[in-house]
Amino acid sequence: MTVTQGVLNRRLAGDLDRAFPDFVTEMQGLVFNGARRWLPARQDAEDVTQEVFVKAYRALQSYPEERVVDLALRPWLFTITLNLCRNHARTRGRRPNQVALGRTDAPGPEATEQSAIETVTVDEWRVRLGRLTARQRDTIVLRHVVGLTYDEIAEVVGRPAGTVKSDVHRGLERLRTIMITEETT
């Protein structure tokens, strides 16, 4: 199910408690996959994803209706995500208690195998991305993993879209060099 931004904004503004679960469903994959490229361990990415949505909910609760209607949801959510990833070292160790969850569908063996391959792939790329500058890494993830536009990324990182574009471009050049080096060694 895909809900367009405008509709989702109006639903969140009109009945937050009813709309928020759908907002989580729609956005959690993006936030988790962004966090996976920014944080060293998978568990950290899980914790931060959880934290992002808890923070987002509390913020949405406090905003007046007009602000929620006009909110650019994706840049806003990734501003929170990027901040929490940067601060994660400080918030470590305050992990909430895990609860036993009933009625969670266990993935079948094929799904598990498939996601194990993806986990390895993501980890390999996280290491390569780690060799770029923070600006290059953040903008590449926002552009090519999360899929934000250059204008949206400009809003998240607080730099002009043109600068973002050249950060992405230089970062990709560097990744290419890194991969060539990997192949020849």
Partner: protein, 253 residues
């Protein structure tokens, strides 16, 4: 030679989101409840809760029955937990022991102001005593709302700790209960009421000819009246006509 770098699919590959994230977010924002089983005063119970308090109590040991009732009265998803948070667990046991809500927090966000007020008045009925539906309506200043009171009590999400079992029909019969009249009787007997007190026709008003005060028969003041000074009235009006005034504790009329 200055060819653009082609983005490998593996860079943008999506790792599936762990199933646990959404439920944990829902629980931490109180948009979903957790539940567990505890030993209640007359058998095992399922208890639902959020960080704000107890949200549902269902006297059953059948999990799917609990989930059905919880969905009907609360309407939020519920996830199983190992146990109650210790503070909530202690306050719940205390509530069972004393027969009073006490400091136990309850989360009744989904109810209307009217429903909450019905439960608020009902929470004030002491253990071992009963009041008619009409009394609850009158305490709320809305004597005509007897049926609405009955249906609000029938949908009480937190029975036992909010003692809807202590509200009976105006003739003294126990009346209906969400979990059957038998359980209502069992709860009342557990609180020390003798079964003849809730037979149909049993609700009479009891006065003392030394104080000229009349009460509901289960009021703690009525139970202190010795047989030689005990006067019985069929209606509050008859007591008033005989020069008696209503008790200030049980407020019978």
């Amino acid at each position: 030679m200055n060819q653009d770098f082609e983005i490998p699919d593996s860079l943008t590959a999506f790792e599936p989101t762990p199933d646990s994230i959404k439920p944990l977010v829902m629980i931490r924002t109180d948009l979903a409840d957790q539940y567990t089983t505890v030993a209640g005063p007359i058998g095992d119970l399922y208890v639902g809760f959020t960080s704000l308090g107890v949200t549902s109590i269902v006297p059953t040991s059948d999990e799917s029955m609990f989930l059905d009732v919880h969905a009907g009265t609360v309407g939020r998803p519920a996830y199983r937990a190992e146990e109650l948070p210790s503070r909530l667990g202690n306050l719940l046991l205390q509530s069972f022991d004393t027969g009073k809500l006490g400091k136990l927090p309850v989360d009744l966000r989904q109810l209307s102001a009217f429903q909450r007020e019905v439960l608020n008045v009902t929470a004030g009925i002491p253990p071992g005593e009963v009041r008619p539906y009409g009394w609850v309506a009158r305490e709320m200043g809305n004597t005509g709302a007897v049926r609405a009171v009955g249906s609000a009590l029938g949908r009480n999400p937190v029975p036992i700790v909010i003692p809807c079992h202590r509200v009976v029909r105006s003739d003294g019969a126990v009346g209906s209960y969400a979990f059957g009249p038998l359980m209502k009787k069992t709860l009342l007997e557990h609180e020390g009421m003798s079964s003849e007190l809730f037979e149909p026709g049993s609700l009479q008003y009891v006065g003392s000819d030394t104080t000229d005060v009349f009460c509901f028969p289960t009021c703690r003041n009525a139970r202190r009246i010795v047989a030689s000074h005990r006067m019985v009235f069929r209606t509050p009006q008859r007591a008033i006509d005989a020069g008696y005034r209503p008790c200030k504790v049980c407020r019978p009329g």
